[in-house]
């Protein structure tokens, strides 16, 4: 922490939990885009308020998981209680960390519901981004007091004048109200804390009513079981009390109750407006659901707090171990991840091409990426994931409805009357020079434009309704690459629409390769078919016979490639000194054959499937 030294806390005597008057409490969160310095600012606050000593300071203290640290995003929120004194006395500030990504909108909304105010943190060199806008809408929707702040004012590229105007235009008020801080140097952070006390309303609740606490996060800890983070609304909770989850009526005993500052610190309980954690010994986050209301078993509240919903997966993908013998390890790893990720669900599935694996449901693409990365990193598994799919509702001519989350579930042998696909409202924020290229991309992905807003002088927000299926298929990568990384994207579910969708199968010598089947718009079926058949032709080694590779919609072939038969596979010479070598070569080849997957009679190296799925097509290695 090179440039940051001794900071003595202003508040010498912090207020004790369970005995703090709500008027002395301020609950807030920080809304910021990835990279805009939220964690660094949070670190400075921890230091300035004295809850973390310089010696213990680690960069980005609040982001515990490696992946979050590396990617600069906060996945799991936590709450920290910090003492802060102003001229009129000492306050307890509860900073509630929020996930920063669109996949976790529900979690974000629950975190926001736990607060009375929000710091809107924007990079002074970049301005506001689409995801931040989305979260800002949510915060305003929750009636939160917004404190606009520009961060990184120490950067040479910072343009605080410009972005102050942009923020003022966006939320109302004067550009002069926009605070300027540097999380890196600490400049302006004390003034920000003072502003939090001054502007954010104190929580309000009925201390005499039955206890009601909203769960805004639930984290699995391998030593302590599930740690549940709550915001008290009414009444109080105490150690050893028996509590009840209002959605499930399940009861548990409180083993520990306390606040994070930032290490868990047991307390005598939590009162109105306070933020803290509960430990009951449960082992699965599903028993402590985000958004649920905690009450006491002895004197339960009549009504739960509003806003609770079950997390619904939006994106599905098959996850397979590259080495089939890792399947039990993958199952164990998913079982363990599930304990800390209530939104993850999965069931076993088998694929001709990939063997045994799991069909997994995710909140969105980032969630998918995080889960696969955690599986690989924390459980040391080599995995292959199939192309992400969304939920389709397929109605056949006989009026039967099928919910399809996997192309293999697409009804066959019967006429399709209608297919409904999920859509999203997408907002794309980018410098105005990129409007043309973004519109082109969105149109090619069947987007319907709903409008366009100028944001400040040179930035534009484009609004589209798009099929989610088009977004999950490399849309974000395309958007980034076509805008030199300047565009940001946010989307939220927007119902479903009927579309002319078909299932394209890929066949090797007449056998369907399930992993490559895809549900695509009829206009794109040919492009998908030619792309996949060409990829596979390049990747699958020649066999002793000709192998046709076809793309088909039902029985109709729409694209075809051929792998010519191998002509020569023989060692010319086999004399006395060659025999042992030749035999060893045969053994090696047979070993190699064990790693081959058979599709009908066609031997396909596992790597070819993986490369075809990932699009990483180099020419096949001749196996000799």
């Amino acid at each position: 922490m090179g440039e940051w030294h001794d900071m003595s806390p202003r508040a010498s005597q912090p207020l004790a939990p369970a005995a703090t008057d709500p008027s002395r409490i301020r609950n807030f969160c920080i809304i910021a885009h990835i990279d805009h310095g939220k964690s660094t600012l949070a670190d400075r606050m921890l230091q300035i308020t004295g809850v973390v000593s310089d010696r213990d300071m680690r960069a980005q203290y609040l982001d515990r998981m490696d992946i979050e640290r590396e990617r600069g995003i906060t996945i799991k929120s936590q709450a920290v209680r910090m003492p802060w004194a102003t001229a009129d006395g000492t306050y307890a500030l509860n900073m509630i960390d929020t996930p920063g990504h669109v996949d976790f909108t529900y979690e974000v909304s629950r975190s926001l519901a736990a607060c009375e105010g929000a710091i809107l943190l924007v990079d002074a060199a970049q301005g506001i981004e689409a995801q931040t806008l989305a979260n800002l809408y949510l915060a305003l929707d929750n009636d939160l007091e917004i404190i606009p702040v520009l961060n990184k004012i120490d950067l040479p590229a910072a343009d605080p004048e410009k972005y102050s105007r942009e923020l003022a235009q966006l939320i109302g008020g004067s550009p002069d109200d926009v605070l300027r801080v540097s999380g890196k140097t600490g400049e302006g952070v004390e003034a920000l804390l003072d502003r939090v006390v001054e502007r954010i309303p104190a929580p309000v609740g009925d201390a005499g009513a039955p206890a009601r606490a909203m769960i805004f996060d639930s984290v699995y800890d391998s030593y302590r079981g599930v740690v549940t983070y709550v915001r008290m609304v009414d009444g109080r909770l105490q150690p050893r009390e028996r509590i009840q989850m209002m959605s499930t009526k399940a009861t548990h005993d409180i083993l520990e109750i306390g606040v994070s500052s930032p290490e868990p610190t047991p307390s005598q309980g939590l009162g109105v407006g306070e933020v803290g954690y509960l430990i009951t010994g449960v082992k699965d986050v599903r028993q402590s659901k985000v958004g649920d209301t905690v009450t006491t078993a002895t004197k339960p509240a009549a009504d739960a707090l509003p806003g609770y919903t079950e997390p619904l997966p939006m994106v599905f993908s098959g996850i397979y171990p590259i080495d089939g013998s890792d399947y039990p390890d993958l199952r164990d790893a998913l079982d363990k991840l599930k304990l800390s990720d209530a939104a993850l669900n999965y069931e076993p599935e088998t694929s001709v091409a990939l063997g045994f694996g799991f069909r997994c449901g995710f909140l969105g693409l980032l969630h998918l990426e995080i889960v696969t990365e955690r599986l690989q990193r924390e459980f040391d598994l080599d995995l292959i994931t199939t192309a992400p799919s969304v939920i389709y509702e397929v109605t056949t001519e006989d009026r039967k409805r099928h919910t399809v989350t996997n192309p293999s579930e697409f009804p066959t042998g019967t006429k399709i009357a209608a297919v409904e696909e999920p859509t999203v409202k997408a907002s794309i924020l980018a410098p105005k020079d990129y409007v043309g290229t973004i519109m082109e991309l969105c149109q090619s992905r069947r987007g319907t434009m709903n409008g366009m807003d100028y944001l400040g002088e040179d930035r534009v927000e484009l609004h589209y309704t798009m099929p989610l299926g088009e977004i999950v298929f490399d849309f974000f990568d395309q958007l980034k690459s076509r805008t030199q990384g300047y565009a940001s994207l946010d989307y939220e579910p927007a119902g479903t629409q009927e579309a002319d969708l078909v299932k394209v199968d890929i066949l090797l010598q007449g056998e369907t390769v399930d992993a490559f089947s895809a549900i695509v718009h009829r206009d794109k079926a040919y492009a998908y078919g030619t792309m996949m058949t060409e990829r596979l032709r390049k990747l699958i080694p020649r066999q002793q016979f000709e192998v046709p590779i076809q793309a088909a919609i039902g029985a109709r072939i729409i694209a075809r490639e051929n792998i010519r038969a191998m002509r020569k596979d023989v060692l010319a010479k086999c004399y006395g000194g060659d025999i042992t070598r030749k035999r060893k070569l045969l053994e090696k080849q047979k070993e190699g054959k064990k790693r081959m997957k058979m599709v009908g009679r066609v031997e396909v190296p596992q790597e070819a499937f993986i490369a075809a799925l990932s699009g990483d097509v180099e020419s096949k290695k001749d196996k000799k």
Binding site: R567, V570, K573
Partner: protein, 408 residues
């Protein structure tokens, strides 16, 4: 023989064989191979165990015949001590390297050593490989006088451009000359050809086949060029100086050769070998392909007796030192279990025109034959008669056929 030696058990210094190795000894053919590990220059594609004068330390070519004969004596003692009664060799083969880099008298001395030790069967095939550059009328006559019956010339190609890529030094115009001299000396003649050299066209290959057939040899071998790792050719290809040989083109050239040779009256009897009459097939090489016994004399030479295989130290100096100490020159040995012998039997015999008796295969292997017939790789009628015989396409895919015959 390839330069890389397999990894196996260490060989005992006394060279003694297990008694089981000589069970049935008298009923099997017994070939003697003598390796001459010297060449005037090393060809760019060659990874054989051979050395040019500059590459070798402390070994004189003139001493070599004596060292090889020391191993012949050692071999005879080992066989005797293992309980194998002395018996005449059924074939003798001098290979290299370039055996004819040594004076004919040295080769004659080595052959006479074999004859003196074991005897040579009446009518035995006694072959030497020869570079067209390194023989003349007198030396060929001398070899015939010494008891050689057959010479195998490394012709490789009739096209100077192709020979240059291969770094072969001889002039193709010398081929008719050396063949005439060999014939005059009463030697049978075999010609070795290489196809698929980078840059070689179908027309080039036709010229080579035509020139070879004009010599009316008794026997022809045609080998696809293999780019062995570590050779100069492999480096040239890696650097992009020479194009990578193309397997499809090689297959075309093989089919071209088989058609041309067949119309000239030659029949294939092994994937890379054709003979004018069955009597002209290489009996020594058939010793390898049918799992008989042979003793390989010389640096890097491999031997096989009754399921025990071993190989000698590669470097001529290391080889000579071991023999000088009275030790076996072998550095590695393997004892083949019945299943391994069966695998070898399959991979070798399936390459022969007689084919592989289906009885050698296990149930799964016999079951695979139907698919091989359907794919046009194996002759249906022969299979019904109990032998797996490759079709023309099957010969080009022989290794793939072997994998299907040995499924496990």
């Amino acid at each position: 023989m390839p330069s890389a030696l397999p990894i196996a058990d260490p060989a005992p210094t006394d060279g003694l064989l297990p008694a089981s190795a000589v069970d049935g000894w008298a009923d099997r053919a017994f070939g003697v191979y003598l390796h001459v590990p010297f060449c005037r220059v090393r060809c760019g594609y060659c990874d054989f165990n051979t050395y040019t004068a500059e590459e070798i330390r402390g070994v004189r070519q003139s001493d070599y015949a004596g060292q090889a004969l020391a191993e012949v004596g050692f071999a005879a003692r080992v066989l005797e001590r293992t309980g194998a009664p002395a018996r005449p060799a059924s074939t003798v083969f001098f290979g290299g390297g370039t055996p004819t880099i040594l004076p004919a008298a040295d080769l004659a001395e080595m052959l006479s050593g074999v004859r003196g030790t074991w005897g040579i069967e009446p009518g035995a095939e006694v072959t030497t490989e020869a570079n067209p550059d390194s023989v003349d009328e007198a030396s060929l006559a001398a070899l015939a006088d010494a008891g050689f019956t057959r010479v195998s010339f490394g012709m490789q190609s009739a096209v100077p451009r192709v020979l240059a890529t291969l770094e072969r030094t001889h002039d193709p115009e010398r081929i008719p000359l050396v063949v005439r001299w060999a014939r005059a000396a009463g030697l049978q003649v075999s010609l070795d050809l290489i196809y698929g050299t980078p840059g070689e066209t179908a027309a080039d290959w036709q010229r080579s086949l035509d020139l070879a057939l004009e010599q009316q040899p008794d026997h022809l071998s045609a080998y696809a060029l293999i780019v062995e790792p570590g050779t100069k050719l492999a480096r040239q290809i890696a650097r992009g100086e020479v194009p990578t040989p193309d397997d499809d083109l090689a297959a075309d050239l093989y089919e071209q050769a088989d058609a041309v040779l067949a119309s000239a009256g030659f029949s294939w009897y092994e994937v890379s070998n054709w003979a004018r009459e069955p009597a002209h097939r290489s009996r020594h090489n058939l010793t390898y392909w049918t799992g008989q016994d042979w003793w390989g004399i010389g640096p890097g030479a491999h031997s096989h007796v009754g399921g025990v295989r071993w190989w000698n130290a590669k470097h001529p100096a290391a080889y000579a030192e071991r023999l000088a100490r009275g030790e076996s020159p072998a550095v590695g040995r393997e004892t083949l279990d019945p299943d391994t012998r069966r695998v070898e039997d399959v991979l070798l015999r399936v390459r022969l025109v007689e084919g592989l008796p289906t009885g050698v295969l296990d149930d799964a292997g016999r079951l695979a034959i139907a698919g091989l017939i359907a794919d046009g790789l194996v002759e249906g009628a022969a299979a019904i008669a109990g032998r797996v015989v490759l079709t023309l396409r099957g010969r080009l895919l022989a290794d793939a056929v072997v994998r299907r015959l040995l499924p496990e």
